[in-house]
Subunit: 334 residues, 2 copies
């Protein structure tokens, strides 16, 4: 699986090339910061593997891979502005390191750099339509995510007044399809398009990407509650701290709680400032409902769908790697 | 000239249609707010007139007109976030009325709605390239604008450390070409493209749009110092209040001041909070340098270029209106 990771990492120089175009030189450092702080390069890897899986040329797919890594970073920059995120990948977020205004301008420039990269690829017309629909979906997901939160956002009376009173599992799946799966879906679909895949192959990889994206988000949610901080390199309970009720583990566990405990948990999630102790208490309460097995069953069902989706593709090394990525993504011990 | 205004105003229903697509219904009100608070619809008018001026069909040009009004509003939404703007068109700005996070999400959605509108037009491939290049230019202009400011932005150490120590007239013209003229240029160019104009006609309208946009910005700068608050419906001295040295009247007048007065003026522009009295004093100081005539000469030179640019076009009613728009834009008593 190490080989897989090196796939995506080699595109960093290309990414940087597009990011420093059309900006005053003063902004260079801020433009490059999100890319230089790392990331797993999963989406560009998916673009390249999808192109290969349909027999396409990896060089034509490179600008598309670049585009989707920049698109991914665009969403991170704006997520951090929305959630006032302070740390990402173990270092200060762009907004924390460079300020809100710089962060906004850089994020907006990233959005345009995506198109500049995509313009270098064959089939630009079709690719740009996929990209726009995708960003539109991600934004719909981001809007839903704030509506699904608990607690009061400072200076946001509009959002506070519009919050959805009930969030169920169907709402959750709709939201993560937009927020997370859309970009996985688009990466695979676009790789297949630029690789010259048939319509059947393109549809197959779209479906594969959707299922992988959903598995990715469920794993993220799972690790937020069950993860080992040292192993995953992230704070556990971040969703609780950031008022997110739309975590699959939280939603499933609430269904198993009595009303008193459920209200207690919602109370912690809604609190403006929570102590580490309160978060660990909430996690203990969630864990006591034993929804782990249920989460793994859901993940397994998506893995079945994911393998099913790949069936129309010819047997290639790329296809084999795509199949195995599901294990890689759900382990996420990196 | 009244007829000209009704041109653009009739597209509001079409604009609204694109804005409410792909959003949770809770965000409808916020999405429609910027459009419902008015605006002169100059850019869509330019799209439609440019299409007509090359003999094109107005119906095919409509989605492009819609796209450019939405694009214009996108820039206003982000400008207000960057400058913490509180009032626009006589009412609270989107961020003031709905909060920062909603304002950011709405602004990002506007950016995507532009493409959805453009997708409805013939020649989408060429139009999307013009659009992306244009937004990229506007963002470069926005970056330059903050670098050109005087004073210290709160929580923005990066920007504060990167400010350009000297801003001259050449920097000014480069910046306003990106910040303001780019969108006028793209509106005219895109109208000519969708109208099926020849390459010569498209180039002519591009050049016309550039010159009109520069005249528009110079007039804006002029009115900020010389305007009558009641007539223009805006606060005079907003540029001084918001730390902008890159106003053509300010730049020209500083060249005529002795060092003491120049430092005094820069002092007021740099001040975190200025009183109405300080602003009126600064305006008096600027006016005493008598650069009015110089500004009018510059405007006249652009008017000559603008009329020159239109020469390759056939004599039509649309061309006549385009010629007269320059007077309309520079009067701006509305």
């Amino acid at each position: 699986m190490e080989k897989l990771l090196t796939y995506g990492k080699n595109i960093d120089l290309d990414i940087e090339k597009f990011l420093v175009q059309n900006i005053p030189t003063e902004f260079r450092e801020a433009m490059l910061y999100p890319i230089k702080t790392g990331g797993k390069r999963i989406r560009p890897t998916l673009v390249l593997l999808s192109a290969q899986a349909v027999g396409g040329d990896i060089n034509s797919a490179l600008p598309v891979a670049v585009a989707y890594e920049i698109a991914h970073n665009t969403t991170l920059i704006f997520d951090d502005i929305i959630d006032k995120g302070e740390t990402r990948r173990g270092v200060p977020t762009l907004r924390k390191a460079f300020g809100e205004v710089t962060s906004l301008l850089v994020g907006l420039k990233y959005r345009e750099a995506v198109v500049r990269a995509l313009e270098q690829a064959p089939q630009f017309l079709r690719l740009i339509k996929v990209l726009t629909r995708t960003i539109d979906e991600i934004l719909e997901g981001a809007m839903l995510e704030v509506l699904f939160e608990r607690g009061i956002r400072e200076n946001e009376p509009f959002i506070n007044s519009k919050r959805r009173p009930n969030v169920d599992i169907d709402d959750y799946f709709y939201m993560i399809d937009k927020k997370t799966a859309a970009l996985f879906r688009a990466s695979c679909e676009s790789g297949a398009i630029v690789g010259g895949g048939t319509e059947e192959e393109i549809t197959a990889l779209r479906s594969y990407g959707t299922n992988l994206g959903i598995m990715f988000q469920i794993t993220d949610d799972y690790l937020d509650i069950y993860g080992d901080e040292e192993l995953i390199g992230k704070i556990v309970g971040k969703d609780i701290m950031e008022h997110r009720i739309a975590n699959i583990v939280v939603l499933l566990s609430m269904k198993k709680m009595d009303e008193e405990n459920r209200n207690k948990l919602i109370g912690v999630i809604s609190k403006q400032e929570t102590t580490k102790e309160e978060i660990l208490d909430a996690i203990k309460m969630i864990k006591s409902t034993n929804v782990e097995k249920e989460v793994f069953e859901i993940l397994d069902s998506y893995k079945v769908k994911l393998k099913e989706a790949l069936k129309p593709l010819k047997q290639t090394e790329a296809k084999l790697i795509l199949e195995n990525i599901a294990d890689f993504v759900t382990s996420r011990q990196f």
